[in-house]
C-alpha cells in the first residue's frame, strides 16, 4: 500500500464560490488518527470537509481519500462517513430506520423508534453521528460534532472519537470547543481566510511559532532561585513568580536549552520539582498566536 493510499491528500486544492474564496492552494496529507480543523467562521473548515466527501468539487487541484475519489461512490462511501452540520433529515424517518447498528454506540437505543423530528438538538446530533459511523467507515468526517451536546454526551462522544482514532481510523473534526479538540487531536490544521496557516502535531506546530516564546510552568520549591539562574540566559525572555510562591512561569525562545538548564539547576540546588508543563502549546494558544484574536465565543 502506497503512502497516498493511507492518507487524505489535498494537492494544490482551491475552491472558489463564484468570486468568493473558499480555500486556496491547500496542500495537506492527513494520516490516520484524529485531525482537528481549527479556524474562525468562514476560514474554510466546512469547505475542506465538503471537498473531502465530494459534496463540492475543487475549482483547482485534486483530493484523494485513501487513494479514492468520490467519483466512484460505491467504493468511496463504503470507507467514508460524514456527519454534517445540516440539522435536517428525510421526512417521516425514524432513528432506527436511519441507522441500525450504530445507535447503541451513541447511546440512543431508547429513542431510536421515535421520529427524528421529535428529537432534541443533542439527540439529533448523536443520531447524525450514528448515521455517519453505521457502515464502519475508515474515514470519518465530523463537522462540529460536539455542538448542542450536554456535558455527559460530549464526554461520551469524545471517548468514542478517541476509541475510533485508536482503532486506526481517520477522524477529521472541526469544533469550537478548543480545549476538547486539544485533548483528543493527534494533529491540527489551523485555517484562516481559506488558507492553511499551520498543520501538524500540536506541539510540533507550537515549536515552529518562533515569534511567541514558549511558556513553561514550573511548580517547585525555591522558585526565586530558579528564576535568578534563568535570567542569566539569553533565550529566557521572562520568568514570573507565581503568587503562591510555589512556582514560576518562564517564557523562553529555546525550550530544549531551558529543559537542560532546569535539570542542572534542580540537581545543583536540590530543588524539589512538583511539575513542569508547557503552558501554551495547546490549540487555543496556537489559534491566538497564528490567527490572532480571542477564540472565545466564535466558531473555530
Amino acid at each position: 500500500m502506497t503512502m497516498e493510499n493511507n492518507q487524505i491528500v489535498f494537492e494544490d486544492v482551491s475552491k472558489f464560490y463564484g468570486e468568493v474564496l473558499g480555500v486556496n492552494r491547500v496542500n495537506l496529507a492527513l494520516p490516520s488518527g484524529i485531525t482537528s480543523l481549527v479556524g474562525p467562521n468562514g476560514s474554510g473548515k466546512t469547505t475542506l470537509m465538503n471537498l473531502i466527501t465530494g459534496l463540492i468539487k475543487p475549482t483547482q487541484g485534486r483530493v484523494r481519500v485513501l487513494g479514492l475519489t468520490p467519483n466512484h461512490p460505491e467504493q468511496f462511501f463504503r470507507r467514508v462517513g460524514y456527519c454534517t452540520q445540516f440539522d435536517s433529515f428525510p421526512k417521516g424517518i425514524t432513528g432506527q430506520k436511519l441507522t441500525k447498528e450504530a445507535i447503541d454506540r451513541v447511546n440512543m437505543g431508547e429513542a431510536s423508534s421515535r421520529r427524528i423530528a421529535a428529537y432534541s438538538k443533542g439527540m439529533r446530533q448523536r443520531i447524525r453521528l450514528a448515521q455517519a459511523i453505521a457502515h464502519h467507515p475508515t474515514v470519518l468526517v465530523l463537522d462540529e460534532p460536539l455542538n448542542g451536546l450536554d456535558p455527559m454526551a460530549r464526554a461520551e462522544s469524545i471517548a468514542l472519537f478517541q476509541a475510533l482514532g485508536q482503532d486506526g481510523m481517520h477522524l477529521i473534526i472541526s469544533s469550537h470547543v478548543l480545549h476538547e479538540v486539544d485533548k483528543i487531536s493527534d494533529q491540527v490544521v489551523l485555517m484562516s481566510y481559506g488558507y492553511v496557516v499551520a498543520e501538524g502535531e500540536i506541539h510540533g506546530v507550537r515549536s515552529e511559532v518562533k515569534e511567541h516564546p514558549m511558556q513553561i510552568l514550573v511548580r517547585c520549591t525555591r522558585p526565586n532561585l530558579v528564576a535568578s539562574r534563568l535570567f542569566c540566559q539569553d533565550h529566557v525572555v521572562e520568568a514570573k513568580l507565581q503568587v503562591d510562591g510555589k512556582g514560576l512561569l518562564v517564557r523562553t525562545q529555546n525550550a530544549d536549552q531551558f529543559y537542560l538548564l532546569l535539570n542542572r539547576i534542580v540537581l545543583e540546588n536540590e530543588i524539589a520539582v512538583e511539575a513542569v508543563a508547557p503552558a501554551d502549546d495547546d490549540v487555543n494558544s496556537l489559534y491566538q498566536y497564528l490567527i490572532g484574536g480571542s477564540s472565545s465565543g466564535g466558531t473555530v
Partner: protein, 283 residues
C-alpha cells in the same frame, strides 16, 4: 477492437446485482414518499377532477356514441395532456431534487455508496410510476364514467367494439406523457434553480409546436403523443393551434422516437448530477 473488448469486460464486471438492488430499494422508498406526501394531494385533485364532475353531473339524455367519443378525446387531449399531466409532472418531477435541496436532505443521498446516476434514474422511475398510476386511474375513471352514462350502447362500444382499444391507447399515451414530461422536468430541476420560467417556455413550446418547422416539431413530446391518441380532436378555431399540422408518424416510429428523446434527456441529467454541488445556503 481493444476498446470493444475492454467495454465488454467492464460491462461483464459491473456489479449489476448490487446496482439492481440499490435501484429497486431506492425506487420503492421514493414511490412511497411521493404517493403519501401531503404535497401530492393537488395532483390527485387535478387527475380526478373530470371524474368528480362526471359523477356529479350524471348521465346526459339523448347523446350519441360519437359525441361521447369526441368528448373523451377532447377531455384527454386538451385537459389531460395539455393541462393535468403537464402540471402534475411539473409538480412531481421538479420537486424530486428541488424538494431535497429545499429540505436540506440531498446530501444524505450524495453520501450513500450509490452512483449519482442511479439517483436520477431512481427518482425518475419513482416519479414516472406515481404520475402514471394517478393519471392513468384518472383517465380510466373518466373513460368509464363517460361510456357508462351511455348505457347499453356505451357498454357494447367498450366491451364489443373498439372501446377497449381506445382505452388502452389513452392509458399508453398517459404513461408516455408522464415519461416524456418527467424526463424534461427532472433535467430542468437539475439545470436551473427555479424551473418555473423554463416550464412556461416548455408549456408554450408543447402547446404551439404545430406552428414550428417540421424538424423542430419532432423535439416536442406533444408531437408524438397526439399521433398516438386513438381519436383526434377536430382542429377548429382556437384549438387549431393545438393540433398537429405535420406529416403523421406511425406508432412504431412515434413510440421509439419519444422514448429516444426522453433517454437523451435522462442521459444529460445523469451527466448533470455528477456536477451538482451541495450549497444549501445559496439555494
Amino acid at each position: 477492437m481493444s476498446l470493444l473488448s475492454s467495454s465488454r469486460t467492464s460491462f461483464q464486471e459491473a456489479p449489476w446485482q448490487l446496482w439492481t438492488a440499490q435501484l429497486t430499494a431506492f425506487v420503492q422508498s421514493e414511490v412511497k414518499r411521493i404517493f403519501l406526501k401531503r404535497r401530492s394531494v393537488w395532483i390527485y385533485l387535478v387527475a380526478f377532477a373530470p371524474v368528480a364532475i362526471l359523477m356529479l353531473k350524471g348521465p346526459t339524455n339523448g347523446r350519441d356514441l360519437e359525441a361521447t367519443t369526441k368528448q373523451m378525446a377532447w377531455l384527454f387531449q386538451v385537459y389531460y395532456l395539455h393541462v393535468a399531466i403537464f402540471i402534475g409532472c411539473l409538480g412531481v418531477f421538479t420537486w424530486l431534487f428541488r424538494g431535497e435541496i429545499v429540505e436540506k436532505t440531498l446530501h444524505y443521498h450524495f453520501l450513500a455508496p450509490m452512483r449519482r446516476e442511479f439517483l436520477v434514474l431512481g427518482k425518475f422511475l419513482a416519479g414516472m410510476v406515481t404520475t402514471s398510476v394517478i393519471f392513468a386511474l384518472g383517465v380510466f375513471g373518466t373513460f368509464s364514467l363517460l361510456y357508462a352514462h351511455d348505457g347499453a350502447i356505451g357498454r357494447a362500444f367498450v366491451l364489443n367494439g373498439p372501446g377497449l382499444g381506445h382505452l388502452a391507447a389513452y392509458l399508453g399515451v398517459t404513461v408516455l406523457a408522464c415519461i416524456g414530461y418527467g424526463s424534461i422536468f427532472i433535467a430542468l430541476s437539475l439545470l436551473i434553480r427555479n424551473p418555473i420560467l423554463p416550464a412556461i417556455f416548455v408549456l408554450v413550446w408543447e402547446n404551439f409546436h404545430s406552428v414550428l418547422p417540421a424538424l423542430l416539431q419532432k423535439f416536442s413530446i406533444m408531437f408524438y403523443l397526439k399521433q398516438l391518441s386513438p381519436v383526434s380532436v377536430p382542429a377548429e378555431g382556437f384549438w387549431a393551434l393545438f393540433s398537429v399540422g405535420s406529416e403523421p408518424v406511425p406508432p412504431w416510429l412515434a413510440v421509439p422516437g419519444l422514448l429516444a428523446l426522453c433517454a437523451a434527456i435522462l442521459v444529460f441529467a445523469c451527466f448533470r448530477i455528477r456536477k451538482v454541488e451541495i450549497s444549501y445556503l445559496a439555494d
